[in-house]
Subunit: 171 residues, 2 copies
């Protein structure tokens, strides 16, 4: 894919393609994973995310802040989106997240027209990424072992916190 | 609907029905509309929302804060959700909003299992409420003239801000 991304299939209809350079989705994921680890160190939900331009410029990064700020609206993706600040549009952006985005974060991606989502893993939680793909968003699922381990350990240790974070009522 | 809500059809499968009292969706909308007016007075996007329990207790209220806080993640619904703070689940809650919820806010409702959405109007913007209804969320669309006027005037005066708020790229 001349001028495209290694490992990232961006819809060829996207006019932003012409401005892309070659780089690696794994490198972008590393930033989100760093954020997830920061969240874990702070006793929070260990999910991290970052928003980049399609040319690889970092716009914002963040992690889930439910525990740290007592804020249920700050999922990793919303936190990274917030950190990026106001933009007239997001057609030239890529969201990178350590975990398959939930409906809330998938809705964010769809509404704001973020062109692509790079996902660390969807083994421990399968969110709305199929829906995004059906609606024209490019999806790269990396199946990263470090991301899987992070969430597996977290869910085992803190099931109540995990269920709270995804709005699942315990029965 | 014994013990239910006037004008609000909640899925009969919901166990929360037994705890409902009779009140009026219009009254709940009035709180969201007050928030929208506060947003307009501050020069922001005039959309307001509030989260209530199904028994009518106010949990959180807020309005779009894109302009005021330079924060694109604070749509009215997310702002109200944030103000409500952490909860173990949202099955017993109702989101009231002056405008049909965009995909981002519809995703919030679906992910967190908010049982019902009361909507001021869907004339100036048709968001994801049909999708929510298809997925088991109760929807009450009020077609409120004051809400329609508020958005009509705003879109006419500030089209760039409106397009930015819903992630629509100007062509």
């Amino acid at each position: 894919m001349p001028g495209g991304l290694d490992g990232v299939a961006v819809p060829s209809s996207s006019p932003t393609l012409v401005r892309m350079r070659t780089y690696d989705a794994e490198q972008l994921l590393a930033v989100a994973r760093e954020e997830a680890l920061l969240g874990r160190e702070a006793g929070g939900v260990p999910i991290g995310a970052a928003l980049f331009t399609v040319t690889g410029e970092l716009l914002g990064r963040g992690h889930n802040r439910r525990v740290q700020d007592g804020d249920p609206s700050m999922h990793a993706e919303t936190c990274a989106f917030r950190a990026a600040g106001r933009r007239p549009h997001y057609r030239d952006t890529i969201m990178v997240t350590t975990l398959s985005p939930c409906w809330y974060c998938s809705g964010l991606v769809r509404q704001f027209g973020i062109s692509h989502v790079i996902i660390g893993e969807a083994t421990t939680f399968h969110g709305g990424h199929d829906w995004l793909a059906e609606n024209g968003v490019g999806i790269t699922l990396l199946d990263d072992p470090a991301c899987v381990s992070l969430m597996t350990e977290f869910i085992e240790k803190h099931p109540d916190l995990w269920f709270e974070d995804i709005g699942v009522e315990k029965t």
